[in-house]
Amino acid sequence: MTRSYYENSARARIAGLLDGDTFNEWLPAADRVTSPHLAILDQPAAFDDGVIIGQGSIAGKQIFIAAQEGGFMGGAVGEVHGAKIVGVLERAVREHPAAVLLLLETGGVRLQEANAGLIAVSEVMRAILAARAAGVPVIVAIGGQYGCFGGMGIASRCATTIIMSEEGRLGLSGPEVIETARGVEEYDSRDRALVWRTVGGKHRYLLGECDAMVPDSMVAFRQAIVASIADGDDWSLQALEREHQMLSDRVQRFGECRDGRDIWRKMGWPDPDAIAMMDNDEFMAAAQGRRSKQTVKVS
């Protein structure tokens, strides 16, 4: 295990975030719960189908957790993978842990089992909202190599809180998908700075699309998760109406912008290009008062 959240595997992230050896895995690799759809396409299966689930404690609070492994098919969601996450969330409705943590790293639906994967993502979305409606906060962490895209980009925003690192990326259609569909003039997926200005952690934080920005370290993610658990949730019509206002304002203010830089300039950053160079503390201090207001939470 390294100190970097980005570089760790899903299993190492769980071990590093939870207290001591409190993690109790459900359907571990020894159970051989694998995808039934890959062999026909000559694709190797994984004994955990790319997601590790279970329960443990963090700062003494009992939580349930699911961690996607980007190293297996880019964390893509298939039938079994999705059902494991749904199981965690439904169990949370029954047992009321202090929170459900979703460590997401995924390109979205696993195309080799596209229909099963799409339905699974939809089931995850409904299960996240069911957990929240039952009073269990759902906390998403995004900071891995593959980011969080596709339907899981939508699912993540159904959660109570999103914690991202600067290296984390969050969106719906990935840059390659848009480039393939609309051409390199529309979106150059190899222009890493452009991609970062479009879906990167700092941009998402400034927009109000994620709630906390942390440096790429296990300790920082853990602290932010503990703080999010303490913040509680606000699943209410009033919160949705506030979000509606925020999203309406965003289209009004930034709908004509062509680049993340234009948005940041409109937010009052005198030198948008300096944002990339700022360390996390410097950025967070400068971001307050400039970023879009996020939904007010009530504990």
Binding site: W26, L27, H37, I40, L41, I53, E79, V80, G82, A83, V86, G87, R91, L111, Q112, E113, A114, N115, A116, G117, L118, I119, A120, V121, S122, E123, R126, L129, A133, G151, I154, A155, S156, R157, C158, G171, L172, S173, I178, T180, A181, R182, E186, R197, T198, H203, L207, E209, L237, L240, E243, H244, L247, S248, R250, V251, F254, G255, D259, G260
Partner: protein
């Protein structure tokens, strides 16, 4: 099928659905039921404005007509594939719409969706797939991605995918595949107003899709896996 024709068949007792760009909204009467209708047309791509407009329509129903059932008329070629929409956080707009639909459900609104033309991935997740009852017309096209694009991403040849799609419901496009996998409740044929009335009588807020997928033989592991997680010690 053209939306006006669908609306005419769903609501023989009248409707006042209006088209504004690619957005449909209004109300319809089906026997003793008055329902709110929200939808899209022209195989539109759902970008930030349209997702927001649909969410606004859902919130308006919650405010002005508490408890009124909501019918989504689905016709979308998916999420808008633009740099600009991604930059603005399209996933967040889609999620907002999904949350509004969930809030409607939790406040007692029955949610029905009918795919009358096309439904693709992201554009479908945020409204049609959030319904209590999700139906499609038999000719409707439902898919995640076309086979050519799928071939590029998976690096499996298009010929191979085309061949496999003849027998497998798991990745191949098509309403009947979604029916088999439990993603659709039913294909609506014949008198659509009868189908709608029947659906309105049988709505419940539980997500039955994985159980349907198991019963219909299209998704054999989803429900057993959830059950195993629930039973794990």
């Amino acid at each position: 099928m053209e939306w006006k024709k669908v609306a005419g068949q769903l609501f023989p007792d009248g409707h006042d659905i209006k088209q504004d760009g690619d957005l449909l909204s209004g109300g319809g009467r089906c026997g003793k039921h008055t329902v709110a209708v929200i939808g899209t047309t022209n195989h539109t791509e759902v970008g930030v404005e349209l997702a927001l407009a649909m969410a606004a329509a859902v919130l308006a129903v919650l405010r002005d007509h508490p408890g009124r059932p909501i019918v989504f008329l689905v016709d979308t070629s998916g999420q808008r594939l633009r740099h600009r929409d991604e930059m603005l956080g399209l996933n967040g707009y889609m999620a907002h719409l999904a949350k509004c639909v969930e809030m409607a459900r939790r406040r007692g609104h029955a949610i029905i969706s009918l795919v009358y033309e096309q439904a693709l991935s992201g554009g479908f997740l945020a409204n049609g797939m959030m319904a209590d009852v999700c139906a499609a017309l038999p000719g409707a096209e439902i898919r995640v991605m076309g086979l050519p694009a799928m071939a590029r991403v998976t690096r499996i040849s298009e010929e191979r995918l085309t061949e496999l799609s003849k027998t497998s419901p798991v990745f191949a496009p098509g309403a009947t595949n979604y029916l088999k996998m439990g993603g659709l409740d039913a294909l609506w044929e014949g008198d659509l107003s009868v189908c709608l009335a029947k659906a309105l009588e049988h709505v419940d807020a539980t997500d039955h899709r994985r159980v349907r997928g198991l019963e219909r033989g299209g998704r054999l592991l989803a429900d057993p896996v959830v059950q195993r997680v629930l039973a794990s010690v």
